[in-house]
Subunit: 303 residues, 4 copies
């Protein structure tokens, strides 16, 4: 149960108060406002506030590029043009604020995105709750033999059981130590010190606010197949939100970022030779083995 | 007349569409939404969108500092505490988007604030309008003799008349040259080149979006007595907006920033000696002439 | 002659003082240090200071990715891998500081890059010099008929003569007005007001400091064929500097950014069908006319 | 012993290679380059690279404010003026790169400063070392009864012994679990998952690069009495480095930031009444209890 009673009360209260506004309103996002989207075993993402919509992107772009843009393109076409040509400032005109509950090791990856505003629960002020991320069996994977940062086969049998036991027992013991150190009848250790004992799968919470441009950058990197599975789960949940919020922008983002290919100069030369009917080998192509493999995968000739 | 008919139509349309939202709503700011606030002779500021309110600042702070803060302080007290102790992230949780029309030389000072999103009308794409800032007589001041960046006495008589004539005639001639170079029956020069001829008092426009923390930093620097009078006029107009938007934050900002004094270590030593009844002279105080003068002004002993 | 005697003296002095350091040193960049590279008619770029080199990029990456990276890749290969996979922080470990003299309208485009530190000459404090950018004949181009932000054919004959006369005379008159308003025997107008009369082709100067990652982003956007020719002249000058400074990074930047193609998901589908021997028409491809044109150009089938 | 043999080798090699440069060189900082400064039980700070010096701050300020500044102030006076009047960009012209080894919970506070470049060792790629921060006895303090984020009395006797035992045993067990999960003969769990079990007092390492302005902001907040003692230890170590690097800037920073007082508008009114000889009570002063207490402390009337 990821939400405290107090938080549930706040959500009900927030969803109970509707008011009139002259600002842009996105009904599909209003339907999501304040309500938690579950992620992992105890985590969540919920939209707390937002500013702007697809039309706000268009409005900003039309200020920059002037009246001439009005006749030639409809909104969807303009947004696609902006995305294709790496225009970023119109997308900065939309803003979103999320409440996120996430394991500490995911928070450490997430916070590397510097262009956002964050208010995180402080373990100097508050005693953290006894909630830890314990992976589902299908997420317990072995170290990849070929990729230093990746996962290989899913663990089975005794191996999986051992890992789950170590994670659960370790978390329980660490939280027990935490409480023992904090105990006012005992050491009464300062909270800012006692939290040292807590492992990286404990859950933390924050408010996280960023603009649409930076959010898409986050989603591209953290939703990528190279990102750790746990942070991708958050990226996917947020992606669903963005799709509802700014559907035209999301469609352009899928075509020109998520599903797009970046092909190097030497890689394009290989493609052009292939298109001209030539059979091209890696030797002499100027590409390294890794580049060659990635390029062949892009054109469906991998493996 | 600072607004085109098209813009007036957009404003009327924007103010004509009200919708329900579950987000925080600030009625006093809704009343201002989209409507232009005149600044200088042809400039304006208008609020296009906003996110959050005083309660959003409090909400974020309470996440960080935990339940313990709930009982001891009311919202106003918490906001004052945050401001006094330089906590910045809770104020980042509010965001505002402004449409601003301003002379180019003011835009050049403004853009130095890097933590904002901007979409400016592009003179590569559009032909700029024939609108120039011509100072009102009371704003036409001589160079200060004592302050290299300041203004002295207001110009009078022939001096004022000469300056006004030069500014008006110069702007008219420059705009005439601009049109002549653009003329499709004549040179048809590229817009991106023709705009070179336009002087720095021509008006430009942009959408400018920033968070409340960065906005207050802007207002402190650009509303200061050392800032150029023209940009201060914009800072004052925005200050009125902020007062309506987040009244508790604004009151704390006035007390702890706008009206606060920053006193150096040596300056505090002087004050403590004075409070102990000692007569202190600058000699031996460790303060430079400038610092001494500034300190005496702070305690009402200037001049 | 773009440098004052005082600046020449400073350069000679700076190049005359060599000292020993334990920091990374790049001999090819030392050879350039402090010496101005001419750009446009009166502009310049010169390297004032730098931090780091290709090895600093590698050093930072190896900290992140650990000892395992040491055996599998040499420095060039690692840098290419980082660039290909959009790793940015290792490139942030290098920093450069430039002194730039540039027309004000170029400065306005340049300053939109927010992730840099800037100290610009202030026309509130100083009287600007009488130096204006007057395009060379081959840079005087007509407005493009097909591209709203672009240039078309070079002007010739009377058209060119008219534009040059208007630019030169306009600048001369504006500077004369400026001096007349500043005249201490006359109005003695404040400098911060008098500068309003100066056109956008006057030269300004600044110190500009940024890291290698942000610099490459700047070079990609401002060295692009869509950027205004005048700022591209600066991007090209800086590109030469970067090539000398971090040659491995520059080579990877050329392959994976400058000469790379970004191809959308639908675009890749078209290419894969073509590679399979199919003749593909735009109808039914899912690409807009603009996207189709850009894709055909990438594979050498434009026109 | 905080440094691996490999790191020691790198340091010796780095300190063994001197080369000539035309850049500004600070001999007192060269003496420190690459050499580790111990912090806490296993932590360190070492300067890896730097750019600029006090003269670089002055050089940038003189560009902005022009020739007029040359005659009236010497370098120290100009730097004091810049600091007093909150000019930030000249201080951005200096840059420093540090290698830091620090406990993970300190890293989490540190990373909240967003205006820096960071490359941290990745526990996805590398197996972390068995090194944990175990506080010295004098750093083991009870939770403060009056300050929710502070420490009270130092623990003694059995309380201290219990806490130390829990921290040491907990770290040992957690690291044992980590190794057991990674064991290639056993589960061979992916490193990115196994690191979940590690507590927040494990050491991590990063390269951290920032400019002098942002560094001073960091030092002011993290060297403050309200900051956690462990991060203050790092701030103090870096403060010593900055003092050697830019002594004029450091002196101004001490006077106008570290030792300066920020006094609110109502607080200044109280001081002025006191200076006029009046006896002022909190009632009627307009100050809250907290503000009054802080003000009295500033003028040595606390307690």
């Amino acid at each position: 149960m990821p939400l405290t009673e107090e938080q549930q009360g706040e959500i009900a209260e927030a969803r109970g108060h509707s008011a009139a506004t002259l600002r842009p309103v996105v009904p599909a996002l209003e339907a999501r406002l304040h309500a938690p989207i579950p992620v992992l075993d105890h985590g969540l993402v919920r939209v707390v506030d937002y500013m702007g919509d697809d039309a706000a992107v268009v409005q900003a772009a039309r200020v920059s590029y002037g009246a001439g843009t009005r006749t030639v393109r409809d909104d969807a076409g303009l947004i696609r043009y902006l995305m294709r040509h790496w225009h970023s400032t119109p997308f900065e005109m939309c803003e979103i604020k999320l409440h996120v509950k996430l394991p500490l090791f995911v928070a450490r990856q997430w916070i590397r995105h510097r262009t956002a505003s964050v208010n995180e629960i402080s373990a100097r002020y508050s005693v953290l709750d006894r909630e830890f991320y314990i992976p589902a069996p299908e997420a317990l994977a072995a170290q990849s033999a070929t990729n230093r940062q990746g996962r290989g086969a899913v663990l089975e049998g005794d191996d999986a059981a051992l890992v789950l036991a170590l994670l659960k027992d370790g978390a329980a013991r660490a939280y027990g130590d935490y409480e023992a150190m904090l105990d006012e009848e005992g050491p009464g250790l300062a909270r800012e010190l006692a939290r040292m004992a807590l492992p990286a799968n404990i859950y933390t919470q924050w408010y996280w606010k960023t603009n649409l441009h930076n959010l898409m950058h986050f989603l591209r990197l953290r939703g990528d197949a190279h990102a750790q599975w746990e942070i991708r789960a958050y990226a996917e949940a947020i992606g669903e939100v963005v799709r509802d919020w700014v559907p035209l922008t999301w469609a352009a983002f899928e075509d020109y970022r998520l599903n797009a290919a970046q092909i190097s100069g030497p890689g394009m030369a290989v493609l052009c030779r292939m298109l001209a009917g030539e059979t091209v080998e890696r030797e002499g192509s100027g590409l390294s083995a890794g580049e060659w493999r990635e390029l062949m995968a892009l054109i469906g000739r991998g493996g």
